[in-house]
Amino acid sequence: MRTPHSARFILAAFLVVAAASLVFAGGAGEKPMAKSITIGAEAGGPYQLFYKDLAAKQFTPKTGITVNWVDVPHTDMHQKFLTEAASGAGAIDVFNADQPWVPEFAAAGYLVALDKYITADDKADILQTALDTVSYNGKIYALPYLVHDNVLYYRTDLLQKAGISAPPTTWAEYIADAQKLTGGDVYGTIVEGKQAGAASAKFLDIVYQAGGSVFDSHGNPAIDGAWIDAFNFYLDLIYTYKVVPPGSPTFDNADTHNLLIQGKLAMAPGWPYMFSMVRDPKISKVVGLVKVGEQPGKVKQTAAVFSWGFCVNTASKAQDAAASFLKFATSTDAIATLATTFINPAIRRSALDRMQKDPAISEADRNVIAAMTADVEHGRTIPMIPQWPRIDERIQWALSAVTSRQVTPEQAAAQLTNDIQGIMKK
């Protein structure tokens, strides 16, 4: 009696069905038509929700172009967009891009140069710092909607109680004030030392405040005395004066905003987004007690400016439609609405003007927005080179290694110089 063939039959049937489905399974409609564009953006991000709404209510009715959205988790956006772009799929027309990716993607040929879509009026109206953050090799490769840098948040009630009349403007004042403000379960301020991009961004502020920069005028790495000062400043805050939570070497911006809204910090450097959080009674214990000012400085008060924007994929089959979305998203109307909704710097002067004249916006908010915008104008952006992410990764290492006291600032500076030279040589 031969084997019943049932088992083999089931197997064969499965393989046939699988093969057939492979043949007949269509794509999930990912080929965009000329009258619709696909935008890859941060999943659940507040700015994305803002633009989804704006696109549906204003952009699509006005232009007839449908907008489809591909949601990507924040930390994975870079890898996902890189994969999509490198494969030449062209399924995503617009990338929601963090500034450091712009030179990288542009150098690799993934981005469309947008100069032909920008008028002279636009160029005059948009803040120069904002345009700097999206330019590479003299061309503009993205349009920014959010240009920001870290400002100093401070607790008006705690400063008043300690007899401090105004927030510090120099490092020395900063340390002195922080010492007065540390006590009980409150710390004077906070420092971020995690081996991560958010922390290194804040560290660059400190380097700039000490008068340093990453490259000198000849394009060589300039990891000099200013950097040592910056490292030592952090070490002083953590270990000498102990005015920051001891976990600071492991903190990033999520820890900063958590501790601020929990009321554990008297001062904190932070991004503009924190302002809305601080005012939200659903999550904040310090509503109405926090104001914003410029960070203190050693050589000067300044900060590193970063941006988020939209850019167009060269593989896109709907480039003009995509570019029109970019222009819409950074128009005076859109920017004015965005700045007021989120209490963020306004990237266009016309938008700022409009807000200053708008009675619906409270004076306090107007002041904050104006202050944040001015802060951006005083700032400077990072070197716009495709190697930046690699360099930043090494800065992250240096920051973490120094704040966890595995290397001295001098050792870190030497290693960093070496690393950057190696990266730029390739």
């Binding site: 197997l11 081996q195 492991t250 495709p386 690699r390 290492w397 973490s400 966890s404 595995q406």
Partner: protein, 287 residues
């Protein structure tokens, strides 16, 4: 038909399907590692570079240190997993124990929690200010270290978080092995007067060899490839102290945009894993 042909017929569908799915990615990566692609200068022509990318990887001190960190992690975690998994499996295997199925299900719950959540969860458990671990330690007046802030404790934290999700696998496989074991040899040993420890060492463990072998081979590959937990807890820090193979390769491929170096690094990693696996497979061969 002959036995050999029959065996082949049974094995072909799975092997062929597997081959069909993974052959392109493997060849693509191999190609990338010997014909380098420079994503930042896409116009440049690509040449065959022989083993030069591999040499560049081996010469990279960060690769070497990630190799050492990985091996340290692998040895520590696999030893702990085996001891813990075996211990609990032996406990659960006692036939006169009621509610065994429930215990077993509860013990594999860690595996059912989405890794992105459990990873973040552990990060907050180990955190300084709002971490519940240090809070509980403070209640007991035990000085609490800054877990993720120094190399040794960060590695310990990673191992603990990993044990939580890795030991259930070891537990289940060893338990299944114990349950499938014939009773006679153990009974015979007991009648001969062998104590519990002797029965374990001389009868049970040798019979458990196939299960231990497969556990080692599977877990070795997983431990060497560890990524999510390290990435979420420390990002490779502090100061690259917990940088492991996978985080190094990820950072090289997508951070530095050096896909070729990442591919070469992966093949080196596979080679090392295969060597150790061969050794373990021979050492724990049944019989």
């Amino acid at each position: 038909m002959r036995d050999r042909t029959y065996g082949m017929l049974l094995a072909v569908p799975a092997s062929a399907t597997l081959l069909a799915i993974v052959v392109f990615p493997m060849l693509y990566s191999l190609h990338l590692s010997v014909v380098p692609l420079d994503l930042l200068h896409p116009g440049t022509p690509r040449h065959f570079a022989g083993l030069s990318v591999y040499a560049a990887v081996i010469a990279d001190p960060r690769f070497i240190s990630s190799l050492l960190h990985t091996l340290l992690f692998v040895v520590l975690t696999m030893s702990a997993e085996l001891v813990l998994g075996l211990g609990v499996a032996l406990l659960l295997n006692q036939s006169s124990l009621a509610g065994r199925g429930l215990f077993r299900t509860l013990l594999i719950l860690p595996l059912m929690v989405a890794p992105v959540v459990s990873g973040l969860q552990w990060r907050w458990i180990f955190s300084d200010q709002y971490g519940v671990l240090n809070y509980l330690l403070s209640l007991l007046h035990v000085p609490a270290p800054l877990w993720l802030g120094s190399p040794a404790s960060a590695m310990a934290a990673i191992i603990v978080a990993n044990l939580w999700v890795a030991t259930p696998f070891v537990l289940l496989v060893l338990l299944a092995g114990l349950q499938g074991m014939p009773d006679e040899p153990i009974e015979a040993a007991r009648i001969d007067g062998a104590g519990w420890w002797q029965r374990l060492r001389l009868v049970v463990l040798p019979l458990l060899r196939p299960a231990i072998r497969v556990v080692l081979l599977i877990r070795l590959a997983d431990a060497i490839r560890i990524f999510d937990i390290v990435y979420v807890l420390t990002g490779g820090g502090p100061g690259d102290a917990t940088q492991v193979f996978s985080t190094y390769i990820f950072q090289t491929s997508y951070g530095s945009l050096d896909l070729s170096k990442g591919a070469a690094g992966s093949f080196i990693m596979v080679f090392i894993t295969a060597l150790i696996s061969l050794f373990l497979a021979r050492r724990f061969r049944a019989g």
